[in-house]
Amino acid sequence: MSLSHDDVRKIARLARLNVSDAEVAEVADKLSSILGMVGQLQATNTAGVAPMAHPLDAAQRLRPDEVTESDARDAYQANAPQVENGLYLVPRVIE
């Protein structure tokens, strides 16, 4: 399993994660090595085995649809990089 630099750039774009030109060769090399190790799985016979999503085979618990949280906007926005009048600021999205 060998990933090209273009493969890495495509995955990085999907992950919304900047990988600089200086990093791309090393990332391609190390991801290829990880995927090579992971490739051992392909030789395993898993015919008829149900995929396991939860160690205890439990179903998602539901709760009554009731309000349980109080307003904590100020507390949460104290951690935001940029806010104004209680709104999160981002670069202009619509010109």
């Binding site: 990933l3 890495v8 995955i11 990085a12 774009r13 999907l14 992950a15 919304r16 994660l17 900047n18 990988v19 600089s20 990093e23 990332v27 190390k30 991801l31 090595s33 990880i34 995927l35 090579g36 190790m37 992971v38 490739g39 051992q40 799985l41 392909q42 395993t44 898993t46 085995v49 149900a50 995929p51 396991m52 999503a53 939860h54 160690p55 205890l56 439990a58 998602q60 618990r61 709760r63 904590a72 507390a75 949460y76 104290a78 951690n79 935001a80 990089p81 940029q82 999160y88 981002v90 670069p91 202009r92 999205v93």
Partner: protein
Amino acid sequence: MSALHQATLAELGDLIARREVSAVELTRHFLDRISALDAQLNSFITVLPERALAQAKAADARLARGEGGPLTGLPIAHKDIFCARDTRTTCASRMLEGFVAPYDATVVQRLDAAGVVTLGKTNMDEFAMGSSNETSFFGPVRNPWDTARVPGGSSGGSAAAVAAGLAPAGTGTDTGGSIRQPAALTGLTGLKPTYGRVSRWGMIAFASSLDQAGTLTRSAEDAALLLAAMAGFDAKDSTSVEAAVPDYAAALNAAPEKLRIGVPKEFFDEGLAPDVASCVREALAEYERAGATLVEIELPNLHLSVPTYYVVAPAEASSNLSRFDGVRFGHRAADPADLLDLYERSRGEGFGAEVKRRILTGTYVLSAGYYDAYYLKAQQVRQLITNDFARAFESVDLIMGPTTPTPAFELGAKTADPVQMYLNDIYTIGVNLAGLPGISVPCGQIDGLPVGLQIVAPHFGEAPLLAAAHRYQQATDWHRRWPAGWA
């Protein structure tokens, strides 16, 4: 009686109960040691003297009213993955360098309610991704047994702090071995409970089907004390299990005489250092002398646990870490050209190299055209590995083997090759995939470096697990050994 910083939680609790030491005195003792000695280890990211002394004063007042419990006034350190209200919580990442948690993790809240004092937040691998504590944005942690060596990871800060007597105990999290492996490498008792036993609420998520909180302590008895306060159903964690919490302390002395111990031949493969194998065999012989029967068992799919994990865990991580977008909290890149640039550069600058590798691996295995070949396949193999353990537990009470293939290695020895680093967790990862409880207890030393015995129990078997570890610690003193220069 050993020095205060060498004592177990149980011993310190006795001193407090007899009024021989106050919570404030105890807290000052550990804060002083941290400020005098931690420069050599880098085990804390944030020390919390004001919070700790306020909690200690409150604990002393509570004790004076006769309202204390077994943990009241005892100081511990929290891995910096647990949110603590109004306290910086970084997960050892540049991404969260300035993040101040607006709420308490359930683990923190429950230990606070028990009267525990929080000394500070310990260093770790960034987002708990690592096996050597070398991926932290705040620099590597060093092992007090040999400061040229790693303490293991990802809960390496808690491990180093407890091993050096900077804290009597610490919390950790274990997704693929991140409590048991550092416990083995620093001579501690490291407990990873059953998946769902301890709430994940407020514990920064890495791989949600594997993550579990636990403890790094000097003894199994101390692990039982902390687990009793931490465990139990929490409606805020959707995978928290609604099961009664047994009296772990009472169960410590209830180990059966005729214990059947499964010894997987796969745990003693060619990757295991021969001198580690000797230490573990000697520990097994100790159990035999105490009346246990050793049964050779097979876990035929165990060799697939590392590749399975490195599909499942990165897949879940890539999803969990998508919340770090540079908008609502966390690092934000300067002067973004547009929204995409904001996302990509904030994440590119905020995450370190190992975290990036895992996000990219996870994104790849979940991407269109590869999902069935990687993710679905890994989920199927995960089921096979889990079936192996279930079959083994039909004929044995516990499974035992090594925790790690080697003792602590030198800083930098494995950073060049991620796959070599991942193989450190070869004996621990299967336990996470199957959601089982496991513990590492010190069982010997090689050239002055500790070695760990791993014990695994069926789901919710923490009581017999702790009892078996406690019995071994009654008969041996490996858990009371102390690194030279830290007495």
